[in-house]
Amino acid sequence: MKRFGVWASALGSGLALGIAVTGAASAVAQDQLPAPSPIEKTLAERATHVTEVTLDKNMLAFAAKFMDKDEDKDDQEAKDMIRNLKGVYVREYEFDKDHSYTAEELEGLRKYFESTDWSPMVHERTKGVAEGTDVYLKLVDGHIQGLFVLDAEAKELSLVLILGPVDLDKISSLGGTFGIPKDAVKSVKKAQKEAGK
């Protein structure tokens, strides 16, 4: 009986440790930038020009140092936002032919970057073609902890994933920096405006 008790407690401790480790790993995975989706590889093979920007937390904190001496309050707030970001992941694919990607590939990309915390903010579609804009927000306890933009145009496909606390009012400061296309920021501002209506 005593032997059973020892085994049971060992098993219980093992399970508890396993759950704790898995939970921690999952939390880390949520905060880390994702590995490229297999779809991205096929898109890159078809694209005439590919741009990839990957910045982790350390790089972003360092980048914020560039703005250390800005005295403007808005710049200071933007800098604080950048310093607290956990990652920026940008992929831009340019094609020589219109619609070199399929609706299934776009859906696959959305699913790959989605998780339970992500809520759709806007889905914009062009009738008859696989074009459109998707904006997702990662909400944790009511706070925005991430932003995902998938912008599909005829000859260009852009993915922008920003992890960490994002202030939508300061999002304009990120447009054109860190490889984030200004169009992606415009899409977010437009979505924000429409959500406010």
Binding site: A44, H49, V50, E52, T54, N58, M59, F62, F66, K69
Partner: protein, 183 residues
């Protein structure tokens, strides 16, 4: 007699133990950073990198001119790189040789393989190391630089203030646009 036998065995073994790492390092197979990347590219593409003469002097001058904002400048230029360069292969080659601490932040690649750019960064205290590998058709440049954002920022601001002042001095036209814009 026995002592001389020991010498005969242990001396070559000792020499081999000392010389092997040195030979391997000299072959460029195990090093990291700028030199390793350049050697890796040279051996893969059977090319020879030209190092810019007086680079140490140029780097020193850059360091003084930028008040320490830029230093450790190293440049290797590979001309006449024959054949198309596979972007994925170049990416893997650089990743293999660049060593720990370096992170790729930007990669640009074209399908025809003529244009490839890789930018790696390595935070080092208050400074940031940057390693750029850039292929433009048959010419490849590898550049390493160490920058201090704060000092560099001061220098850039100095010029941007001059520019802003010059811009402010230009009186706007009736339609609200700077006259400089119409030039």
């Amino acid at each position: 007699m026995r002592q001389s036998t020991n010498y005969a065995i242990f001396l070559p073994l000792g020499l081999a133990a000392v010389m092997t790492p040195a030979i391997m390092l000299a072959a460029g197979g195990t090093g990291t950073g700028f030199n390793a990347v350049v050697h890796g590219i040279e051996s893969r593409y059977h090319a020879h990198a030209n190092h810019i003469p007086f680079m140490m002097l140029i780097s020193g001058v850059a360091g003084i001119a930028t008040h320490g904002g830029v230093r450790g400048l190293r440049v290797a230029e590979i001309e006449h790189l024959d054949g198309p360069v596979d972007g994925a292969e170049l990416n893997a080659l650089v990743a293999q040789h660049v060593g720990p601490g370096w992170e790729r932040i930007i990669r640009e690649t074209s399908r025809d393989g003529d244009d490839q750019s890789l930018i790696y960064a390595k935070p080092d205290g208050d400074r940031m190391g940057l390693l750029v590998v850039d292929l433009d058709h048959h010419e490849m440049n590898v550049v390493q630089i160490s920058i201090d954002p704060k000092h560099l920022d001061d220098d850039i601001k100095q010029y941007s203030h001059h520019h802003d002042k010059a811009h402010d001095d230009v009186k706007p036209d009736d339609d609200g646009q700077d006259s400089s814009d119409s030039e």
